[in-house]
């Protein structure tokens, strides 16, 4: 039983990271913290893929002429793409946060909702004169 847990420690780590990231995204009201959470969440997926690619006793997949056992390079390539996607997402998300801060003066979700609520009330008053 214990062995089954410890032999798969990498998966436990991935699950832990995944849940941590997702929890931060859901629970934090700070827009930047949400993006950090999203990053942790995505990182867990990178680890998942790299774990899949590992072959026991395998070396790096570089052709040396000798026949060797080597790890599966495909997941690494896939994850390189996913990392690029992650970078673009982070950059775009932070850019949006910068703009949000410039127009709202805050990066706390609650404060934004408060100022929006105020605005919609004014709109309602305009609708029913």
């Amino acid at each position: 039983m214990l062995e089954a847990i410890f032999n798969h420690y990498n998966y436990w780590l991935i699950i832990f990271l995944m849940m941590t990231g997702l929890y931060i995204v859901v629970s934090r009201g700070n827009l930047i913290k949400k993006i950090v959470g999203l990053n942790i969440f995505q990182t867990s997926v990178f680890l998942l893929y790299i774990t899949i690619g590992k072959v026991n006793d395998g070396t790096a997949p570089i052709l040396t002429g000798k026949s060797e056992i080597f790890s599966n390079p495909l997941p690494h390539v896939l994850i390189l793409t996913a990392i690029v996607v992650g970078i673009s997402t982070t950059a775009l998300g932070l850019a949006l946060v910068v703009r949000i801060r410039e127009s709202y003066g805050t990066i706390e979700e609650e404060d934004i909702l408060v100022s929006e609520g105020h605005q919609t009330e004014m709109e309602l008053n305009k609708i029913q004169p």
């Binding site: 949006l96 709202y104 709109e123």
Partner: protein, 500 residues
Amino acid sequence: MTNWLHHIPILIVAVPLISAPICILFTFGANRKAAWFWTLLVSWFAFLCSIYLLNHVLENGIISYHLGSWEPPLGIEYRIDLINAFVLLIVSGISAIAIPFGRLVVDKEIEPDRQILFYTTYLLCLTGLLGVTITGDAFNIFVFLEISSLSSYVLIAMGVRSDRRALTAAYNYLILGTVGATFFVIGLGFLYMVTGTLNIMDLSDRLTHLADNKAVHAGYAFIIIGLALKVALFPMHVWLPNSYTYAPSLISIFLAATATKVSIYVLLRFLFKVFGFSFDFIPLTLTFIFLPLAITAIFFGSVGAIYQTNIKRLFAYSSVAQIGYIVMGIALSNTIGLTAAVLHIFNHALIKGAIFMAAGCLVFRVGKLTTYTIRGLGKEMPWTFAALVLAGLSLIGIPTTVGFISKWYLLLGIMENGWWPIIPLIVIGSLLAVVYMWKIIEAAYFFQAPQDRAPVKEVPLELLIPLWVLVGCNFYFGIQTEITIRIAKEAATILLGNSP
């Protein structure tokens, strides 16, 4: 000599992809019109390609194109059957009609020095949506999905000039969209772990022997949840209303008509072709999860729409309801139900394209759209409002419109399954659509124009022509139903059949 017709499957994706960076170079002449014209050319090129592909698939069957001449399943394969050819036609067709409409509204809504970047991002979004549809490689779907999603976050945020809430809408969409896409990738990881392949055909072959594998089950759950987020299926629709409301008009048209449709296509592909009925949890999910969610979506969306005062937001909520109809067709999982779902993907693109285009015309003249600001506009902008009302009739599902055709097939599908209790629910859903359309008609035709608004003129012909072309399509395909029904039926047969 190169046979260019053979390369159409790649050209339809690669040409928009390469034209996006070329479009950036127009910044040196600061030539906004050239950037627009370039986007127009590319859209029409993609449209012509998709017509050719659909014709070719109808006559000769499946097309398979190997990138870099690597044989599948090792290499990336573009695989076009009737279903993706049809979705390709929808995406490129809406783009081809929306861009001619777009020049004036973009000029009005986007800062002049950002317009070229706007068109560049639009081209990337188009590339992404076409790529998701055409590719036969599961990881490629993720990459293209992220290209289209990232560019649509940017495009939505560009609505900030008229309303700062575009920023928060784009931010929320970014968070939820990324979580959805990441779930999809986790699911793919599990499938890859078990099968060692990413080619969709190969994947479905190998999965048939793995029906009891726990990793496959987990992968299935992740993929379906991730895609449901992208589809905006209730209760994962929270990003949708604000995004469609505060996006620039052109983007509202384009995304409302195409983005969720493409995700629904991917959902169909994974439900029926990758997993298929050899898994006993597929009928289970369809009947006990998708069907209740679809019904809730129809009611939640329609009732939500009734309570909106912002017109674009009203139609965004109605989109949530319409997605409910499509998912209900999928949940029926018989040929007629799936025919209805595929038909409604097409028909709803026409309906919502026309409606958001009319909304774009109104924004062009009035600015903010609420039930208050549009009062009395029925007399001042007769053509726009006539188009809006006709598209609204199609949304409700009046006979001779496309909306009627898909609802009719949906009802037939329900009857075939013998799920009689659902039929009144569909009828009530249509009645709710009457209620929210009536709100707009009442405001536009039966109220006096507010005192503080200057009289407005009808929009120029450049905006009216694309609008009326789309409205015309709503009626043309509502009367000449042979071709769309034939395609939808064959697509449904492909989805349900065992043959690849």
